[in-house]
């Protein structure tokens, strides 16, 4: 198990390193001189030159990258060019909103995804199965930018039961904060639920067909025991991996949700950074989001290893 963990950890770190190089070089991939881009198209050469030296853009790329990584590792995340504040501060300010949203969406996704999956696999009612499958096809066609607008239309505009967005502090006004979380969390979780449910249902159906189920039947076990003791543990694997991927992608989805529901969070900060060409800030946020996604997938893989003794213990003893 240790070996497996270390292997996966190493892999995650390597990916992160490669991604950091790519993120760093984004600025330089853009056509044109980065200093000009940062200063603006109509800035005078003097300003451009100042910017160039200020930000160290005149030095070799490798040195710039090295410096950047060095600063990162010592906790210095840099300074936002347009907003003036240290990036670290900005992140801390905007973090809670995004975290709340992510957690809420994760909870919804996990609970509804797994429950629906079990129901889909075990129900004998053909009607129920068909119904869920139609709803699933529909839900797959409702990415956050679509479902968000629809949800706002019905719940905020027509029926007026929930606010259409905005922020509220969870500490000071919990009820208001939670009300503002509901619609965006649903919008984010919606497309993931049918995928997870169908994955779990497919795996369970496949597990039911496995031969060890016949053995359990031959021992006299009843259907219930077979489902929970034999089939479920053997089917969770792919569903957990998919959950990991989906939660990782929430860091991207949150950006869309924050735009639609006018929430202040890391996502809207990122968009703003790109639009104002505050590239230092944008790069840092990108890196953060990707690192979070990688971390979540790593955790998912650890869970799988924990459940499956073949991975946990390695080969033959």
């Amino acid at each position: 198990m240790i070996r497996f963990v270390l292997q996966r950890l190493l892999s995650a770190v390597v990916v992160l390193a490669v991604v950091s190089v790519l993120v760093f070089s984004l600025l330089h991939l853009a056509p044109g001189d980065p200093a000009v881009v940062l200063a603006g198209a109509d800035a005078d050469p003097q300003t451009v030159a100042t910017i160039r030296t200020q930000l160290g853009l005149d030095r070799p790329l490798v040195t710039q990258y090295g410096e950047w990584v060095g600063q990162l590792l010592t906790g210095d995340l840099g300074r936002s060019y347009t907003l003036g504040q240290p990036i670290g501060e900005l992140i801390v300010q905007r973090l809670p909103g995004t975290i709340q949203l992510t957690i809420a969406a994760t909870l919804l996704m996990t609970v509804f995804g797994l429950v629906t999956g079990v129901v889909l696999a075990t129900t004998r009612s053909r009607l129920l199965r068909q119904g869920i499958e139609y709803l699933a096809t529909l839900a797959l066609a409702l990415p956050p930018f679509v479902s968000g607008v629809v949800l706002i239309f019905f719940f905020a505009v027509v029926w007026q039961v929930l606010p259409s967005g905005g922020d509220a502090s969870l500490v000071d006004t919990p009820a208001s904060a939670i009300r503002r979380l509901i619609l965006p969390a649903i919008a984010l979780a919606l497309p993931a639920v049918p995928v997870i449910a169908q994955l779990l249902a497919t795996e369970m159906r496949r597990a039911y067909d496995q031969e060890f189920v016949l053995t359990a039947l031959a021992k006299g076990a009843n259907r219930r025991r077979i489902t929970w003791r034999h089939v479920m543990p053997n089917s969770l694997g792919p569903a957990i991996i998919e959950l990991g991927i989906r939660v990782g992608h929430l860091f991207g989805g949150a950006i869309v949700a924050e735009a639609i529901f006018a929430r202040a969070g890391l996502g809207s900060l990122l968009v703003q950074a790109v639009q104002t060409r505050d590239y230092r800030l944008a790069q840092m946020l990108l890196l953060l989001a990707i690192a979070a996604a990688i971390a979540v997938q790593f955790v998912a893989e650890l869970c799988i290893a924990r459940i499956d003794p073949r991975i946990r213990l390695g080969g033959k003893s």
């Binding site: 060890f212 053995t215 359990a216 031959a218 021992k219 076990a221 499956d308 073949r310």
Partner: protein
């Protein structure tokens, strides 16, 4: 004394046949299978009885319905199958109409079941101990009782160090050990009836002997009735008291083992035993093969299902299914044939010339020379300290034109790897392999191409070895195209020649592999190998994936091709009787090394190495010095 010989001894001298009470009584059982929109009868009107302390063998090929019959006893039929008639009684109780909870109470307690592939039949996420305890606790044992009994059960079935092993997971056991675990679960509650569906098919011969021995021992010690399903007549001969022969969903013959084998009353039974190569009889020139193949369940012939392949068929056989009839004399030996009332008409096996024991020495120079070959899988990785152990560790062989070399051994011994290296699929680590003077390590393009045309391979699995998207014609002409052997105008003619060489009609050229039976596909595979006119053919388990009644056809085909074309054949097989029949020279392989090599009559008649001897002792059909089946 180990192996099936011991099992046979356990059977024959202690318990008389048909002594105990009837534990399982199946009468006129019929089953349907739903495929797509149709319902097809898969089992029709089958009856059988098993008494306590008795082993009933149910033998049949694919499509015979034997497995479904067994599953129906435990009411474990797949959703698509259903009972359409008949009765199944366990100790007088009607199993088919019993309410579900009662059935659950019987399963695992009164009736136990052992399946074919132990890895798939054990839950990979639960320890072996948990799974054994499960069957005990489901039927009333307390936690402590179950824990203790689980350990003693492991001991009973021969698992060493049971106290420690009880907490291991299935993947930490070998195949044979896993099967013992399954047996432990099946007998945990001392059932009166044990059903074993192909319990040893997935296992090596020596392991198989151990399992059969265990089953026999349990039968003797616990008095269990055992219903043993298998396709291997050799196992039936060694271990069973009575036998039921099934074909195409019907019971065609049943009775006490000696009666059925000594005086078969159904042509299928007789032809089946005749077409199976044996270790205890002199080798024949050609096997008496049954023409055709077992019918597809959707297209069973009307009347007697065997009549299309039967040498004694006449008009009535085509029109009416013969009833199961009693012999006038003798205890309960019955057969479903119009001719069952009398012993079957003599049918001298036309090709039964015996082969001289000494098949002579090779006449020409060897076409294949293997010298001290070492082969290994995988590459060094940063995490390994030493290079991986060689799979083939210093093997030397010779194969001659017009002769067959048999390479036998159990799984993991390296024979398949060696075969793949000889045909150039796997690289040699060290040593030398020379085919007609050429080696795979050559750098000359032309020599490599020539080498490809000199040695070819016939694969084990006829379902996988043909590209499913190509019609037969393309499969046979592609080698001609790639090697530019024949001008375009001549290709069709050559394809037809190849088809007739392997006994297939030219009309099949337009078909796709999925439209052919297993035996036909294997013939196509052979034809494809012949297309490049090789001098050496390596056949890796050429018949083990085929139905028993079809195996003889392919074996004959290989022998004929060898004699007519002067081919050298290297046959890899685990089935010793096939090797003995086909091969003049035999090499026995164990753990990457050849432990014994020599002429067939010496290996089989007077084996010197201990491993060879244990292989022979474990092979079904070899212990019959104790029985007389003629």
């Amino acid at each position: 004394m180990t192996g099936t010989a011991a099992a046979a001894a356990a059977c024959s001298d202690t318990l008389p046949v048909a002594s105990g009470e009837v534990v399982l009584d199946v009468r006129n059982l019929s089953l349907d299978l739903r495929t797509g929109r149709d319902r097809i009868p898969v089992v029709q009107d089958v009856s059988l009885q098993v008494r306590s302390g008795e082993i009933l063998g149910v033998v049949g090929e694919s499509g015979s319905g034997k497995s479904l019959t067994a599953l129906s006893v435990m009411r474990m039929l797949p959703a698509a199958a259903s009972v359409t008639g008949g009765e199944v009684r366990y100790q007088g109780r009607d199993l088919l109409s019993m309410p579900q909870p009662e059935v659950g109470a019987l399963r695992g307690k009164d009736i136990g079941m052992v399946f074919q592939d132990p890895m798939a039949y054990l839950n990979p996420l639960m320890t072996v101990g948990q799974q054994i305890r499960e069957v005990l606790r489901l039927h009333g044992a307390s936690r402590r009782e179950a824990a203790e009994r689980a350990v003693s059960l492991l001991d009973l079935v021969g698992v060493r160090d049971p106290h420690r092993r009880v907490d291991d997971y299935p993947h930490q056991f070998s195949g044979g050990m896993r099967q013992r675990v399954i047996i432990a679960m099946a007998v945990a509650n001392n059932p009166k009836l044990l059903i074993a569906d192909e319990p040893t098919t997935a296992l090596d011969v020596t392991v198989q002997a151990g399992i059969l021995d265990l089953l026999g021992r349990l039968r003797k010690e616990l008095g269990t009735a055992l219903l043993l399903i298998t396709h291997d007549i050799g196992i039936v001969e060694d271990v069973c008291d009575s036998v039921l022969v099934m074909y195409a969903g019907r019971a065609v013959e049943q009775g006490a083992l000696h009666d059925v084998l000594r005086d078969p009353r159904h042509p299928y039974t007789r032809e089946l035993t005749r077409s199976t190569p044996r270790l205890d009889l002199p080798v024949q020139r050609r096997l008496s093969a049954i023409p055709g193949q077992p019918p597809d369940i959707r297209h069973r012939p009307a009347g007697c299902p065997f009549h299309t392949r039967c040498p004694h068929a006449f008009d009535r056989c085509r029109d009416e299914m013969p009833p199961v009839s009693d012999r006038p004399a003798g205890i309960s030996h019955v057969a479903a044939c119009w001719l069952a009332a009398e012993p079957l008409p003599a049918r001298p096996v036309a090709t039964a010339e015996e082969v001289p024991a000494d098949r002579g020495a090779p006449e020409a120079a060897p076409i294949l020379e293997v010298d001290d070959a070492r082969i290994t899988y995988g590459h060094r990785s940063l995490l390994r300290r030493q290079p991986p152990r060689p799979v083939v560790d210093g093997v030397s062989l010779r194969a001659y034109p017009g002769r067959t070399l048999g390479l036998v051994g159990e799984s993991g011994c390296g024979k398949s790897t060696l075969a793949r290296t000889i045909v150039g699929l796997v690289p040699l680590l060290s040593g030398r392999i020379s085919i007609d003077g050429m080696q795979w390590t050559t750098t000359k393009q032309a020599e490599r191409a020539k080498l490809r045309r000199t040695v070819q391979m016939v694969f084990q699995d006829p379902y996988q070895s043909l590209n499913p998207r190509q019609p037969i014609r393309t499969l046979l002409t592609e080698p001609l195209v790639v090697h530019r052997l024949v001008p375009p105008a001549r290709r069709e003619a050559r394809a037809r020649e190849l088809m007739s060489l392997v006994g297939l009609p030219a009309g099949m050229l337009d078909r796709y592999p999925y439209q052919l039976s297993g035996g036909q596909r294997q013939r196509v595979g052979i034809a494809r190998a012949l297309a490049v006119e090789p001098r050496l053919i390596v056949a890796d388990e050429p018949v083990s994936a085929l139905d028993v009644s079809v195996q003889a056809q392919i074996i004959n085909l290989l022998a004929d091709l060898r004699d007519d074309l002067g081919l050298a054949l290297l046959v890899i097989a685990h089935d010793l009787s096939v090797v003995r029949h086909l091969c003049e020279d035999v090499a026995v392989m164990q753990a990457g090394k050849i432990v014994e090599q020599g002429p067939a009559e010496q290996i089989f008649g007077a084996p010197r190495h201990e491993y060879t001897r244990s292989l022979l002792a474990a092979s079904p059909g070899s212990a019959s010095s104790l029985e007389d089946h003629r």
